[in-house]
Every structure is written in structure tokens, then in C-alpha cells.
């Protein structure tokens, strides 16, 4: 479609029909391509003026003449828009990020080069075997698809997320793109399984972890090396085998990855290469270099050919050929984030002496779950507060975590809060549902430091003040899930 000069807007069928309709109303497509009929039906319900929809099979089987146009790619100007990818804004309303030919020419040059370095640094051979399970409405996911089609690759697509482990083993990839949720789930699963194994295996696990820490600090003894050799034979190799026989690395982006999780995979002998970027930066600003060891907690160096600096309030700003030309039909929003050619990311970060970046926080309030989903908390907080008139304040948390939870202040009863949350959750997709809450008294006053003088919430202060309550909420949720797994 892009070769035909058409602008493609990738959508995800699992998103709520109302949200999809909202995006389509914004960009007014002429035609809707669907994999099968079901999402099209739901969309037609949500938007009566939806464009005609066509399944891919229909398009492939329609008997039309092919003589009317060119068969290969056509010359395109750098400024021509090829795609609009919708991303959540701070208001919760998705914005269409336009990407043009110039953005893609530049970025695919960098990604294919980096993937080539990965394969060469880990023993060469080809074509690359790549597994893929993420939806193509994520910029990084879409970029990986184009990178694979541009390189000598066999790309294997998942069709059943419930069988992900089997699919990975069967496709035996050299590398694949991940969001932190999956890697953290794998780590938790392995640790749970090891805790149920016989005592000698548990002993070996504990000894090898300690030995690995000392090896990292260059203080490993001969005994440490023996523990690690044994663990590699008896534990690590078996975990690694679940990823097939030739896994070279895991690539991870979209949200912060816990340094402990990155270290866990390093210990198994599986490098995790992190990337950082936004849809507005054609998906990528930094990437780990596969030719050098990754530093846990860091997301690699800025890619060649672009600039990346720290601006006011430690905000990361960047400019270069990866910067998008603007939001679709939103000139004011574009002007707000693009100033003198610099794109203001809204993320805070710092660069170490080796040029590697660490993302330290978010200027904007958008919550980024470790699945990569972005959630604007304010509209949901307002809805819950509307159902709980006695609540003094509702604060949704979840940045870097697997799900959302809420802190509720004021004279409310747990049963009322649960009823309000259930009601709000009913209208929301799974990743935006609130999974636990905690009542925290009447803490919110300007004097408490939790509100500004004009009554606005100071989220960083709330997170710091209630760190233990937030931790407890997620622990309770984990325990509940563990109990329900045992009962299943």
C-alpha cells in the first residue's frame, strides 16, 4: 500500500471499538482493511459512517487488471507521509503521529545496520530468524517488520498469544522484540519453578546467583566459577533451550526494564538489548550496541546521525532526520513539542560518561505500564471521584508496573470504592483496568506537600510519600494472583 503512495494507519483489533472509531474519525480513511470480519463489525457499530471495509482475502482474490500501474516501488519525495500511527496523548485522546519517507529512509538504515552488527557479533550466519508477537500499531513493531523485509530474514508471526512459549520454541529465533512485561513474566516464572525444585537445585541456584554477582565485580573465586559451570549445565542451558537452539539476543523497548530482569537474562547468557524512543522519533532514539556489553538500567547510546541532549528540567530533547513532521491535523500540539527543530520528549534522563542514556522519569503525567501501554490517569481519576463524592482525592499509579492501582483519600468505605472501580473498569480495556486500591486517610492539603498551592496534584510527592502503600498494593495483588493460580 505504501508503494502505491497510500497513507497507512495501523490499528490494533484488540483495542476498544470506540477508541478505534475515534482514531478513524480523526484521520478519515477511505478504506478499512481487516484480517477478518469481526473487528469490522464492532467498528461499524461504534461508527455508522465508517469507511467500506475489505478483508485481505477479498483484496487478494478480487479479479482486477494489474496492468494499470507500476509493479515495483516508485520514487518518493522525503516529505511524503507514509503512515499515521496513533499514540496516547496526556489528555488521553490519541494523536496521529505522521511519519514520512525521509524518516523511514533514515531509521531503516540504522535498524538494519544494527541488526547486521548483532548477527555478525554473535557468530554470523543467515538469514536471520526472527519471531514477532507484538501488534503492528506500535512504531517499534512496525519498524521491525520493515527492517526484516529489508534484510535477509525469515520473520515468524505469532497467531496465538496463549501459546507464546511454544511458538517461540518452535520458531527458534535468533532475536525478537519484547516489551518488559514478557521478560519480567519469564523471570518470575523461572524463579517460581526453581523455588519448587529439589533442595540441591535450589542450593545451586542460590550459589550461582551469588557467584555471578562476584564475577561481575571481577572478584569471582575458583569455587564461584565451578558453581557457575554447574549452573550453566544443569539450569541455565535448560531455560535457554525454551527459546530454541540459536537465540542470540532479546531486544526490549516501549517501557523501562527493571535492571534486575536485564541482569537475570545476562546471567543465563542471553543479552537483552534495550532501545528507547517515541513514535514521534520514528520509534527510536537510542539502541544498545550488540558489540559491547549492555549496562542494566541504561537504554544504549543515541543512534548515529541525530542529536540528543538534556534540556530544561532534565527533559530529553532530540533533533535530526528521525523527527516526525507533525501530528495529523493538530498544528498547536505539533508546535508545543517541536521547537526550533528540537523535539521535546516529555521524558527526563541523563547520559553517563560512556554516552549511554538512562531514562529517569516522565515530565508529563502519562503512565507507561511495563507492557508499553500508555494511560492518561486524569480522566479515570475524575470518573472514580465522580462516583465517590466523599473521596478527597483519587490518584492512579502504575508507571513501569504491570497494571494500574489507585490510592484513595477521604472518608470512604472499601466496599464503596470497589463498587466504583468495578463500574469504571467495565468500560475499559484490560490494560486500563484498576487492579487494587488502598485507602490513605485525609492526607491531601497544600501544606502536606502533596498538592500545589492552587490544588493540583504533585504526583512525584505522592509516589514518594506513599511508596510503602503502593508497594503493598502490588504485593497484595501478586499474592492474590498466586493463590488463584494454585486453585486453578
Amino acid at each position: 500500500m505504501m508503494a502505491e503512495g497510500v497513507i497507512v494507519v495501523p490499528l490494533y483489533a484488540r483495542q476498544a471499538a470506540d477508541e478505534l472509531a475515534g482514531m478513524m474519525k480523526d484521520c478519515r480513511p477511505r478504506l478499512l482493511f481487516v484480517g477478518d470480519a469481526a473487528p469490522g463489525e464492532a467498528l461499524a457499530q461504534a461508527w455508522h459512517d465508517a469507511p467500506p471495509r475489505v478483508t485481505l482475502d477479498q483484496a487478494l482474490n478480487e479479479n482486477v487488471s494489474k496492468a494499470a500501474g507500476p509493479g515495483g516501488a516508485v520514487a518518493r519525495a522525503d516529505s511524503e507521509i507514509v503512515t499515521i500511527i496513533y499514540t496516547s496523548g496526556t489528555s488521553g485522546e490519541p494523536k496521529g503521529v505522521c511519519l514520512n519517507v525521509g524518516n523511514l529512509n533514515y531509521m531503516l538504515g540504522r535498524t538494519t545496520e544494527r541488526l547486521g552488527q548483532l548477527m555478525t557479533a554473535t557468530g554470523g550466519g543467515g538469514p536471520d530468524r526472527v519471531f514477532h508477537y507484538l501488534p503492528f500499531n506500535f512504531a517499534a513493531s512496525w519498524l521491525l517488520l520493515l527492517s526484516c523485509l529489508t534484510r535477509e530474514t525469515t520473520l515468524t508471526l505469532s497467531t496465538d498469544l496463549n501459546r507464546l512459549a511454544d511458538e517461540i520454541r518452535l520458531s527458534s529465533p535468533n532475536y525478537f522484540l519484547n516489551v518488559p512485561t514478557l521478560l519480567e513474566r519469564v523471570r518470575r516464572g523461572v524463579e517460581e519453578a526453581l523455588s519448587k525444585r529439589a533442595a540441591p537445585i535450589q542450593l545451586l541456584d542460590g550459589k550461582s546467583r551469588a557467584a555471578w554477582q562476584r564475577q561481575k565485580a571481577a572478584s569471582a573465586s575458583a569455587t564461584d566459577r565451578l558453581w557457575l559451570w554447574l549452573a550453566k549445565k544443569l539450569i541455565f542451558s535448560k531455560i535457554k533451550a525454551r527459546f530454541g537452539h540459536d537465540l542470540r539476543a532479546l531486544i526490549c523497548g516501549s517501557a523501562p526494564l527493571a535492571p534486575e530482569t536485564q541482569q537475570f537474562f545476562q546471567m543465563l547468557g542471553i543479552p537483552v538489548l534495550q532501545a528507547y524512543g517515541l513514535t514521534e522519533t520514528t520509534g527510536i532514539c537510542t539502541m544498545d550496541d550488540p558489540r559491547e556489553p549492555a549496562e542494566p538500567g541504561y537504554v544504549g547510546s543515541a543512534i548515529p546521525g541525530m542529536e540528543m541532549n538534556v534540556g530544561e528540567n532534565e527533559e530529553i530533547v532530540t533533533r535530526g532526520p528521525h523527527i516526525f513532521p507533525g501530528y495529523w491535523n493538530r498544528p498547536e500540539e505539533t508546535a508545543r513539542v517541536l521547537q526550533d527543530g528540537w523535539f521535546h520528549t516529555g521524558d527526563q534522563g541523563e547520559r553517563n560518561a560512556r554516552g549511554k542514556w538512562r531514562i529517569s522519569g516522565r515530565i508529563k503525567n502519562l503512565i507507561v505500564l511495563n507492557s508499553g501501554h500508555k494511560v492518561a490517569p486524569e480522566p479515570m481519576e475524575e470518573k472514580i471521584a465522580g462516583l465517590l463524592p466523599a473521596a478527597q482525592q483519587v490518584v492512579i499509579v502504575g508507571n513501569g508496573r504491570s497494571c494500574l492501582c489507585a490510592l484513595i483519600a477521604g472518608g470512604v468505605e472499601p466496599v464503596e470504592v470497589q463498587a466504583a472501580i468495578d463500574e469504571v473498569n467495565r468500560e475499559l480495556p484490560h490494560y486500563r483496568q484498576i487492579r487494587n486500591f488502598k485507602l490513605i486517610g485525609n492526607a491531601f492539603t497544600p501544606e502536606s506537600g502533596l498538592l500545589t498551592l492552587n490544588g493540583k496534584l504533585r504526583r512525584d510527592a505522592v509516589s514518594a510519600r506513599f511508596a510503602s502503600e503502593i508497594y503493598a498494593m502490588y504485593e497484595e495483588k501478586k499474592e492474590r494472583e498466586a493463590v488463584s493460580r494454585q486453585h486453578a
Binding site: 508503494a3 502505491e4 519517507v101
Partner: protein, 58 residues
């Protein structure tokens, strides 16, 4: 210099009968070779033209 689409088409032409894309269906793979993918792309482009969907850039 070739644009990204020209590079992609060139790679698919080189791939010819080598599998470039496959879906896992249970224990089986549903595979598409480079030449087959190019043929499918051609069909979808013809469908777009037939439907009156064309570039706004020309």
C-alpha cells in the same frame, strides 16, 4: 540513493523462493516466499487502483 520501499522490493526480489514470512498455526507454519509476497503486494495494489484509492502525492 534508493528509498526504503525500493530497498524492500529489491530484497524481496532477491529472496525469490526463499521463505520471508510465516505464521505459526499450532505446530505448523504457513509460509510465504519472497516472490509470492511480491505477487500478493501486486494484487493488493491492483485492488487499490481498481477501488479508486490513489496517492495524494501525485
Amino acid at each position: 540513493m534508493a528509498n526504503f520501499l525500493e530497498s524492500l522490493f529489491a530484497q524481496l526480489n532477491r529472496a525469490d523462493d526463499r521463505v520471508v514470512l510465516r505464521e505459526i498455526r499450532g505446530e505448523q507454519f504457513l509460509s510465504v516466499a519472497g516472490s509470492e509476497l511480491l505477487e500478493q503486494v501486486g494484487k493488493v495494489r491492483a485492488f487499490l487502483r481498481h477501488s479508486g484509492i490513489r496517492s495524494i502525492w501525485q
